[in-house]
């Protein structure tokens, strides 16, 4: 796990501008302190659940939603609808997601019954500690980003995504095989590497490369160092 999408209102209620900004800043610092990267839709200018926002949420490994009072006409306070939409979208995509819910909004909206972290501006420490524990749990479940070197018995594999080639990896843990997940290929001088988004501790790994009908695949092995691919006959 590397990337956390941080969802928050860009239009806080005037009574809560300062505490919303402080919470957003502190949550961002917690995310970075956990050796994770924060992603937002800030540079996209806010707005609805646009294709660009959806793409960022899909690319991120998880989502943290800040439900703090949002400003609407007439000075009414309400939960920010875009934040709720982004949270719902992440949940629908199977991403780990958590809401931090301002005391004045507690118990409202979709997913109100879901697990959440309560937030009161006067006591943020508990909120941040709970968030850190949540992120730590997600990191443990999703595993760490890993890079392995690809070896193919001296054969230089002509991997080219533009030719429709693909590389996937599969994990084996708790006596179960996981789904095949896409790996990113990365070249360094003298070697080719596969980047795997998340490998939990104690998992075994196997790698598969498909090149114009030819399949090169490894056996399950420890997810460190070099992975040896062998050409398989379909």
């Amino acid at each position: 796990m590397q990337q956390v999408f941080l969802s928050y209102t860009f239009n806080p209620h005037p009574d809560h501008e300062a505490d919303t900004a402080a919470l957003r800043r502190r949550v961002g610092m917690v995310i970075e302190s956990m050796d994770l990267r924060e992603v937002t839709g800030e540079d996209l200018g806010g707005g609805g659940l646009t294709p660009e926002i959806r793409a960022r949420i899909e690319a991120a490994d998880s989502l943290v939603a800040l439900l703090t009072p949002h400003n609407v006409a007439g000075g009414v306070k309400m939960a920010p609808p875009f934040v709720s939409d982004e949270f719902a979208y992440a949940k629908a995509r199977g991403k780990p997601a958590i809401r931090i819910v301002h005391a004045e909004l507690a118990g409202s909206g979709m997913y109100a019954a879901d697990e959440h972290i309560p937030y009161a501006p006067a006591s943020t420490a508990d909120t941040l500690i709970k968030l850190m524990r949540t992120l730590a749990l997600w990191k443990r479940q999703q595993g760490r980003p890993t890079q392995v070197e690809i070896a193919a018995g001296g054969v230089e594999l002509p991997f080219d995504p533009g030719q429709g080639h693909r590389c996937d990896y599969q994990l084996f843990a708790d006596f179960k095989e996981g789904d095949w997940l896409p790996a990113t290929i990365w070249r360094e001088p003298g070697a080719m590497y596969a980047f795997l988004k998340g490998v939990p501790d104690q998992s075994k790994l196997r790698l598969r490369m498909m090149l114009n009908g030819a399949i090169w695949q490894s056996d399950f092995q420890n997810p460190i160092g070099r992975v040896h691919l062998i050409k398989r006959t379909p």
Partner: protein
């Protein structure tokens, strides 16, 4: 000690570069060098080459398809030694816009018999901007000022997900001409600290914009590898500092009158 590694590289195409590495430093220091052992990427054969020709400044020439980290073990005449490092940078000829891919390897290097003329460096134009989430607002101002100078700002937050971050950031740093780090806290983001350390390793001109109470040594960078300015300087002073950082002698940014 002023010794460091200097490089020249010419695109020989397609996707192939010829390069020369040599020592650079004061004449008196070069005179004290007995031998340089060049340590190339292991895909080179040979990957360890001794050169003792002072007249060429211990030059080594070779060729290859990609960039890599070069190390040099410098043996002095008094028996002492030191190690230097350098990231070989290769660019395609069209305005040096795109760095060379990191690809294997190499043509066997050869000690050079005479020193070729130095190649002109491309004008610096890309600014890598590193900051923690607490400095987002200030980062936006730095970006605006840098862009007003015609510079392109490289922000690691713009990297696509799914890439190996450390590698992608290293590539972005290599591509940059200068680096600015925003240091407003004594406990900087681990990403900021890592990016600053890499910038120093790559010998990029580095400017730290620091808060009043913040000591740059928090980052553990060697002294002399960076300059500093107050984080809260006004726009005019910030633009001047960025212009100074981005310019090299004899080159100017588009749209500036330097």
């Amino acid at each position: 000690m002023t010794l460091r590694i200097e490089q020249e590289a010419q695109y020989a195409g397609p996707d192939y570069w010829r390069w020369t590495l040599r020592l650079r430093g004061r004449q008196a220091e070069l005179d004290r060098v007995a031998k340089v052992t060049w340590l190339l990427h292991e895909s080179f054969s040979p990957s360890v080459v001794d050169v003792d020709d002072r007249t060429t400044r211990f030059a080594l020439s070779g060729g290859g398809w990609g960039s890599f980290e070069v190390r040099a073990r410098v043996l002095m005449r008094n028996g002492s030694s030191m190690q230097l490092e350098h990231e070989l940078e290769l660019f395609y000829p069209e305005a040096a816009k795109h760095p060379a891919p990191a690809k294997p390897p190499a043509q066997p290097p050869a000690a050079q018999s005479s020193a070729p003329p130095p190649a002109a460096a491309p004008p610096p134009r890309k600014l890598f901007l590193s900051y923690g989430t607490e400095d987002r607002a200030r980062a936006a101002e730095v970006r605006r000022c840098a862009e007003s100078l015609g510079a392109q700002v490289l922000d690691p937050r713009q990297l696509e997900a799914g890439l190996p971050w450390q590698r992608a950031i290293a590539q972005m740093l290599r591509e940059s001409d200068a680096v600015v780090g925003l240091l407003s806290s004594d406990f900087p983001s681990p990403w900021l600290a890592e990016e600053m350390a890499q910038a120093v390793k790559l010998r990029k001109p580095l400017l730290l914009l620091r808060g009043a109470q913040v000591e740059p040594r928090t980052l553990g960078l060697p002294s002399g590898t960076y300059s500093t300015a107050a984080a809260d300087v006004d726009d005019a002073a910030l633009v001047a500092a960025l212009r100074c950082l981005l310019q090299t002698p004899g080159s100017a940014l588009p749209g500036t009158d330097a």
